[in-house]
Amino acid sequence: MKGMLRLASIAGGLVLWHVLAVWVIDDSVLLVSPLVVVAKGYEMLFVTADLYPHLFASWWIFFYGMILAALVGIPVGFLMALSPLVRDYIAPWMTALYTTPRIAFAPVLLLWFGIDIGSKIAIVFLGCVFPILINSFYGMRVVSREFVEVGRSFRLSGGRLFLKILLPASVPFILAGLRLAVGRGLTGVAIAEWFGATEGLGYLIFFAGQTLNMPILFVGVAVFGVLGVLGFQFLQIIEDLATPWKKELEAK
């Protein structure tokens, strides 16, 4: 029963879409049937295989940006949680960077890093770093309040306390941050590739938009959606595996 309605909703929506595209709008510049989109996707994946270069180009930007964001975000988040001094000095800059729409920095980063992969990675980095940093910060703050006394009572030194207790206990928060970062990273990829790229999924979408190529545009949007869901689910699985003891724990 539960799944049925969901399936019916999806099926009904697709039929409606098809009807709208074929009989009501009937203009391939405005809307194409889902069947056309699926056919185009199949072609790009298995026949001409011209989706893959774009996919790989986007993947490397995403990958490096994400790794860099984790390498910076986690330690800085920890430092901010453990030292009020660091937090007070960094916080205003962080609020400013975090709340400014990221796209505003794109032209500036382009100016600094050139139109090569460097500026693109920087844009993705800027998108991913804050969810990771903020989750690491909250995680470490919660964990350190909770466990520091336990560690003290076992007479652990600062370093051992960090490695044995604080770090493992904050893993779920970090993973939750990474999970949130996936979506923002993908948005970053799309933004980055819009500025002076010649390949990549973002480029594909904007190129299709400019040339009013609806099938490719929809394929691009769909691939982004699939990647977002896959990345999110993948990290969810890792999170469940890494922290079997607290499934429902979620950082705010």
Binding site: L5, Q210, K252
Partner: protein, 253 residues
Amino acid sequence: MQQRGLRRGLLSILGGLILWEVLTRLLLEDELLIPPPTSVARSLWKLSFAGELNRHLYATLFEFACGFSTACAVGIFLGYLMGRYRWFDELMDPWIATLYSIPVIAFVPLIIIWFGIGLFSKIVVVFKITAVAIMLNTAAGIKNIDPVWLELSRSMRLSPWETTAKIRLPAALPYIITGMRLGVGRALLGVIVAELMAANEGLGYLLREASETWDSPKLFVTVVLLAAMGMGSFGLIKKGEQRLAPWRESAEW
């Protein structure tokens, strides 16, 4: 404690600006890469006097306000229905989840093709982004209501209408505000992207113009304005959160 944090924050910003000014003046020959803060300020002054800035600022704010307010109304209404009725939730969920998982800006080209390059397409962008965030959060808030409040409502013999107005909606309010907060950031991003792609006014348009003409003080002015807009809307929502849900500790970021 609070006071000290504030003092350090101000000190940090002031110190950063001075360092920026000194370094750019000492190390850089031209102001293309990073103009010093004083040139940015001068440029801001000039632009706002020319009236050019106001036009772009108003355009962006107008698009944002229209899209955001309709998104709140529609998002809360549909989110409430999703939270109350299982069948409606199951009907909407696959589509909402799909919309939510696709990066915001992947939609922008599509919306521009459908709704043109004028104000309206930007309003649609803001609406789409915000409405989905608010809808999902409202639904979660309505679903997660403490059952004892519903018992209370029954024991007080409140009518269904009163239960909605006095119990369910206020209980979901913190969730709704969280949805708004998530929506604001993404929507601001969306509207700027849309203006960058196709528009003849707005801060996004200004951003593109500045970057294409290599006018770096102007570029930085736009960045600073966007930062101010981002922080301003974020701060407003945080204020609203403290005002409307004083029993809840609001998140720092």
